[in-house]
C-alpha cells in the first residue's frame, strides 16, 4: 500500500529508515485493533479468555524486527500478540485460536489461545505455566550450538516469571555455556495482582544479570527504536558466540491481567491513566509525526485498513466450525 512519505532516514540518529518505522507503526495499529476486538469478543461470550498485549507492543514489535524472521526461534508467552502478528500470523489465525475454532494453527484449538507451535514462523509457546519455557529455550539454543546451526533463540516472559526457580536455572545454564539466547523480560510491574515491589527486593530485573556474568540492560519498552537497538546488540552477541543477554523492557499493562481479572481491586486510582501517557502506539505516532514520516491521512488509512482486516478475520473466525472431535485421542504418542 502507498505510504505518505517514503524518504529514507528522516532522523539521522535512528538505526531504522522511515519505511521500516512506518511498517512497525502499521503493525502496531493492527495489533492494537485486533487486541481490542478480542476483548469485545470476550465480552460477547465468543472468546473464553484474553490476556492483553496492549501497552507491550513496542517491546514486542521492536524485538522481532531486530531478529531474523523465518530462522530465529521465538519462545513467547501468553501476552505476545504483537510478536505473533509481526512474525506473520494472520489476524484470522489468531482469532480462530481465541474462538477455539477449526483450523487454529498452533494447537488445533487444544490449548488456550496463542499456545502451541507454529514451526514455519519459529514460534513455540507450549505452556501456560510461568517460566517453564525458559530452560526449554535454553535447550533450543543448546541444540543450535550442538548442531552447528546459526539460529538464535529469544525467550519472552513477564516480571513475575523472574521470581521462578526455572528462570534462575535457565540464566545460569545459558551463561555457563555461552548459548545463543536472548532473555527478554516484558516488565509491566505486575504479576497478576502483585506489584513488583512485593515480588522482589531489587528495583531492576536487569541488575540480576550480574549474578550470571552476563550483560543486563533495562530499556524503555515503549520505545520501539530503543528496543530494536538493544535486541540487535544482544543478537550480535548471541550470533558471535558471546552468549546470552538479559533485556528488561519497561512496558505498561493497560488492562487487567486477563479477562477474568478485575484490576480495580489492586491498582491505585490514577495509575493506569498515568501509564497510558506512555502508550507505545501514541508515542510512535507522535515521534513519526514530528519527524514528518507520518501524516494524518496515512494514519487514518492504517487504522481503516486494520479495522477492515480485523472485521474480515472476525467474520471468518465466527463462521468457522469447532474442530472435528474425531481426532481428539491422537498425538498423545508418536505411534
Amino acid at each position: 500500500m502507498a505510504t505518505a512519505n517514503r524518504s529514507k532516514r528522516q532522523d539521522p540518529s535512528s538505526p531504522l529508515d522511515s519505511e521500516t518505522l512506518l511498517e512497525m507503526y502499521r503493525q502496531m495499529v493492527l495489533s492494537r485493533t485486533l487486541d481490542e476486538r478480542i476483548w469485545m469478543l470476550n465480552r460477547q461470550g465468543k472468546a473464553a479468555i484474553v490476556a492483553s498485549s496492549q501497552g507491550h507492543e513496542a517491546g514486542q514489535i521492536g524485538s522481532v524486527y531486530a531478529l531474523q524472521r523465518g530462522k530465529d526461534q521465538f519462545y513467547i508467552y501468553y501476552r505476545d500478540l504483537a510478536v505473533m502478528l509481526t512474525l506473520g500470523m494472520t489476524p484470522e489465525e489468531i482469532l480462530l485460536g481465541f474462538m477455539a475454532k477449526a483450523g487454529e494453527p498452533l494447537s488445533g484449538a487444544r490449548q488456550f489461545p496463542t499456545h502451541g507451535a507454529y514451526l514455519e514462523l519459529g514460534i513455540v509457546n507450549q505452556s501456560n505455566v510461568i517460566a517453564t519455557h525458559l530452560p526449554q529455550a535454553v535447550g533450543a539454543a543448546l541444540a543450535a550450538k550442538m548442531k552447528g546451526e546459526d539460529y538464535i533463540v529469544i525467550v519472552y516472559f513477564g516480571d513475575g516469571a523472574t521470581s521462578a526457580g526455572d528462570t534462575h536455572e535457565a540464566l545460569n545454564f545459558a551463561s555457563l555455556h555461552k548459548l545463543p539466547v536472548i532473555f527478554f523480560c516484558e516488565n509491566n510491574k505486575y504479576a497478576t495482582s502483585v506489584p513488583q515491589h512485593k515480588q522482589m527486593a531489587v528495583e531492576s530485573i536487569a541488575s540480576r544479570a550480574e549474578g550470571y556474568a552476563m550483560p543486563g540492560i533495562s530499556i524503555d519498552g515503549c520505545d520501539v527504536v530503543a528496543v530494536y537497538e538493544a535486541v540487535s546488540e544482544a543478537a550480535k552477541r548471541a550470533r558471535s558466540g558471546m552468549g546470552p543477554t538479559l533485556i528488561e523492557a519497561m512496558v505498561e499493562r493497560f488492562l487487567p491481567h486477563t479477562s477474568d481479572d478485575d484490576d480495580s481491586i489492586y491498582r491505585p486510582k490514577g495509575e493506569i491513566e498515568e501509564a497510558r501517557k506512555r502508550d507505545p502506539l501514541k508515542a510512535l505516532n507522535l515521534s513519526l509525526t514530528s519527524l514528518g514520516i507520518l501524516d494524518a491521512e496515512t494514519d487514518k488509512q492504517y487504522l481503516d485498513e486494520a479495522r477492515s482486516i480485523v472485521n474480515e478475520a472476525t467474520d471468518l473466525a465466527e463462521a468457522a466450525p469447532f474442530p472435528d472431535t474425531s481426532d481428539f485421542m491422537e498425538h498423545v504418542y508418536y505411534s
Partner: protein
C-alpha cells in the same frame, strides 16, 4: 565358510546401561548425556564412565546441581532435533523436574497436535535395600506412570536393560527409565555385544507356571523368582510375569497368564496405596474376572513415606522372598 558367532558376555545391569548409551552415542550424533557428575566422574554409579574421553564435553555435559534445568534444557534440545539422555542422580532427587516432565514434556505432542516431538530419556536409579535411607531409596514410578504422553520403563536384568534403554533412546516420545540401584552390580546375566533392541510395552514371562501368576518388575522380579523356586518345592507352580514397562502396560500378557492360573499376585516395592499394582489389579478384575479363582492380591511397600536407614527398619519396609512366599502360600490356598 566361516560362521561368525555372536559374542555374548556376562555383565551386570550397570554395565548393560553403560554399553547401551555408549553404543547409541556412537551410532547417532544427536544422542548426548547431561546430568550431575556424568563427566569426569563418569556418574556417581559410573554409568557414563569413560564417556567424556570418548565423546567430549559437548556431548557429555556436567550440569549445575539444578534438576529442573537438566530436564528443561533436555526438553528444549529434544524439541529441536537432539536426543538427550538426562541423568537424575537418584530417583529421590527427581521432584524438581516433575513440572518439566509431567507438566511439559508429556503434553508437547498433544499440545502442538503432533508438530513437536520430545525424544528424550530421563534415566534415574531408584529403589531401596541399599541402606539409602529416606532420600536414596525411594520408588517413584507411580508419580510418572499415571501420565498419558510419558513412557515408563523399569527393567530387571542386564539383557532387558540394554535392549530397552536402546529402544528408549530411539523412541520419539519422552521415556522415564528406572534402574533399580540394587540390581546395578548384584544382578548379572548374558548380554550380547551386538546391537539389539527390545520393544517398550511388552512384558516378559520370566518363569512359566500353572498355579499362581506373579506380576512384578525391577528388583522384585528376582525376589519373586526366588520365592517361586521355594514354592515349587512345596508343590505350587508359579508363573512370573516381568512387565518391564509400566506405561504402556502389557495387560495382554498378564491376562493370558491369569487365564491359565486363575490367581494373581502383584508385587512391588513402591507403596501399595495408589501404586502400579492397583492399576494392574483393577484391570485384571475388569477384564479377567471370569478367569479368577481367588482375590487379586497385592504385596507392596507399607504406609510409610520412604525407606528408613537403620537395617532392621529397612528390612521392615522391604519386600523380600520370604514375604512373597508367604503371600503366594496364602493365595494358592484360597
Amino acid at each position: 565358510m566361516i560362521r561368525r558367532r555372536c559374542a555374548i558376555a556376562v555383565k551386570n545391569v550397570l554395565e548393560a546401561v553403560h554399553d547401551a548409551m555408549q553404543e547409541e552415542m556412537r551410532r547417532d550424533e544427536r544422542v548426548f548425556v547431561l546430568g550431575e557428575d556424568v563427566g569426569r566422574r563418569g556418574g556417581v554409579f559410573l554409568a557414563t564412565n569413560g564417556f567424556l574421553d570418548e565423546f567430549g564435553e559437548a556431548r557429555v555435559m556436567d550440569t549445575p546441581l539444578a534438576e529442573s534445568s537438566i530436564a528443561g534444557v533436555a526438553l528444549g534440545a529434544a524439541m529441536h532435533g537432539m536426543r538427550p539422555i538426562a541423568e537424575i542422580q537418584f530417583g529421590d532427587f527427581i521432584w524438581p523436574i516433575f513440572n518439566q516432565i509431567v507438566g511439559e514434556a508429556a503434553r508437547v505432542r498433544y499440545g502442538t497436535k503432533g508438530k513437536l516431538s520430545v525424544p528424550m530419556v530421563v534415566r534415574t536409579p531408584h529403589g531401596g535395600g541399599v541402606r539409602g535411607g529416606l532420600y536414596h531409596s525411594q520408588s517413584i514410578e507411580a508419580y510418572f506412570y499415571h501420565t498419558p504422553g510419558l513412557k515408563v520403563v523399569a527393567p530387571a536384568t542386564p539383557f532387558d536393560a540394554k535392549g530397552l534403554l536402546k529402544s528408549a533412546i530411539r523412541d520419539d516420545d519422552p521415556v522415564i527409565f528406572l534402574e533399580h540401584k540394587r540390581t546395578y552390580r548384584l544382578v548379572q546375566g548374558e548380554v550380547p555385544d551386538e546391537d539389539y533392541t527390545l520393544p517398550i510395552g511388552k512384558a516378559d514371562v520370566k518363569r512359566q507356571g500353572t498355579d499362581v501368576t506373579i506380576v512384578t518388575y525391577g528388583l522384585m522380579v528376582h525376589h519373586c523368582l526366588e520365592a517361586a523356586r521355594e514354592l515349587e518345592e512345596e508343590g505350587v507352580s508359579c508363573e512370573v510375569v516381568d512387565v518391564r514397562t509400566l506405561r504402556p502396560l502389557d495387560m495382554d500378557t498378564i491376562l493370558e497368564s491369569v487365564a491359565k492360573t486363575g490367581k494373581a499376585l502383584v508385587v512391588h516395592e513402591d507403596n501399595k496405596f495408589g501404586g502400579v499394582g492397583g492399576e494392574i489389579a483393577a484391570t485384571i478384575s475388569e477384564e479377567g474376572f471370569e478367569f479368577l479363582d481367588g482375590p487379586v492380591t497385592r504385596l507392596a511397600g507399607p504406609e510409610v513415606p520412604a525407606m528408613p536407614y537403620s537395617p532392621l527398619l529397612e528390612d521392615m519396609y522391604m519386600i523380600n522372598p520370604a514375604k512373597i512366599a508367604q503371600a503366594i502360600r496364602k493365595l494358592s490356598a484360597y
